[in-house]
């Protein structure tokens, strides 16, 4: 049997979910036996592959770039997993929503900068007016809340996904866990 293709994606988040994923420690070896990590901040692939079995997405959708990415990921993934609170609720990145991107950029790049204050506009993607969870853009198959979800949560959830077993997420984790 060929191995499952697994991808992890990092949108607007702190990478804490990825850290927690790595906290599975030796259980990662167990995972490696059944799945290949085909795309991830942890590996070298630059392009999202044509076909992925399970995509774990960390982070909220905060920029036009994130929006484009999440739509592509959805199109090329069989199972899309929203990993952690940012992807599910917007979490900390969404705390700017009541303030607006202009005010935030102003504070960060103009008001508090002494030398050459300017708002970056080259290479960096344009911010969306509000940060939103990924299921506001695409269909999400599995939600794994937590900030971050624990390594045990990852282990149990991924095992269930790989084996196709039942998965009671609320027994494992919650918002802010």
């Amino acid at each position: 049997m060929s191995k499952l293709k697994l991808a992890t994606v990092w949108l607007d988040g702190c990478s804490g979910c990825h850290m927690s994923f790595l906290d599975m420690d030796e259980r990662l070896l167990e995972l490696a036996e059944v799945a290949d990590l085909v795309y991830s901040p942890l590996v070298d692939a630059k392009e999202f592959p044509e076909e992925v079995d399970i995509a774990l997405v960390e982070g909220a959708v905060a920029s036009v770039d994130d929006e484009k990415k999440i739509k592509k990921i959805r199109d090329h993934s069989k199972t899309l997993v929203a990993m952690g609170d940012c992807a599910i609720t917007g979490n900390v990145p969404s705390m700017r929503n009541s303030i607006g991107p202009e005010a935030i950029l102003d504070r960060a790049y103009i008001e508090n900068v002494s030398a050459q204050p300017q708002i970056p506009c080259i290479v960096v993607p344009k911010l969306l007016k509000v940060v939103r969870p990924i299921h506001q853009f695409v269909k999400v198959d599995v939600f794994l809340p937590g900030c971050p979800p624990s390594a045990d949560t990852f282990y149990t959830a991924i095992k269930a996904l790989v084996n196709g077993g039942p998965l009671d997420i609320s027994a494992l984790t919650r918002f802010g866990a």
Binding site: D85, T89, N91, L144, S170
Partner: protein
């Protein structure tokens, strides 16, 4: 609290036959019998307002849903506290609450001991389908001991009731209408400049991180609202 009589009523809750005193509410009787009904605005020791609508139950013979916290038991009543319909509504109500203000569990002082958060988990809420409203709300840190973060308030009015009914100060009240409702101190004074007696009861009964003690952070901030029934008992005894 309801006026409890001596007459005994027999009723059925979730197919379990239970006995109750006349005048007891469905919620009281259910709790006595370890039948769990989710609540948010209800708190033993305070008056009941029936506002959060989480304790709605089905009563055989009625198509309407009934709030368990304010409905007194009747002989032969058949109550169902857990059905697909109830769970669906309860989840939607929790979603409405999560989307209404800015509930960021991960950075909240009540993370880990918040009643809203636990109910979300208990009812299997893994995400909120509704658009988040992201309102721009103030944080009142003018009080020397406590802070009110309106981003986390669910308008359960426990603080309003405990201040008026138990402390007797009636510093807290509700201002505005609809989604613009806000809890205020006095006539919308800053908390620190209000007639607050600094008893801290409102902080203890607040189910979320909306009212918290400045001297404590994060997980060091469990709340103990269970003092209320004892306080009432002692007062009645005197």
């Amino acid at each position: 609290m309801s006026e409890v009589g001596t007459e005994v009523k027999i009723l059925v809750i979730d197919e379990q036959e239970v006995s109750a005193h006349a005048g007891q509410t469905i919620l009281e009787v259910a709790r006595e019998n370890d039948i769990h009904i989710p609540t948010l605005c209800y708190l033993e020791g305070l008056s009941n307002v029936g506002a959060c609508r989480l304790c709605l139950v089905e009563i055989k013979g009625s198509s309407k849903l009934t709030p368990a916290c304010v409905t007194t038991v009747q002989e032969g009543m058949e109550v169902s506290t857990n059905s697909e319909r109830l769970t669906r509504h309860r989840r939607t109500i929790l979603e409405l609450l999560f989307a209404e203000r800015n509930h960021i569990c991960s950075v909240c002082v009540a993370n880990g001991h918040c009643e809203l958060q636990s109910l979300g988990q208990e009812l299997g809420l893994t995400h909120v389908r509704l658009p988040y409203r992201n309102p721009d709300l103030p944080v009142d840190a003018s009080h020397e001991r406590f802070t009110a973060d309106h981003n986390r308030c669910i308008l359960c009015t426990r603080c309003v009731r405990v201040c008026a009914e138990i402390e007797g100060a009636h510093v807290w009240d509700v201002m505005g209408r609809g989604v613009n409702c806000t809890i205020i101190t006095d006539l919308h004074e800053e908390w620190g400049k209000s007639t607050c007696t600094r008893c801290g009861k409102c902080v203890q009964v607040c189910p979320t991180g909306a009212l918290f003690d400045k001297s404590k952070i994060g997980s060091e901030h469990p709340k103990y609202p269970d003092f209320l029934p004892f306080l009432n008992m002692m007062r009645e005894a005197q």
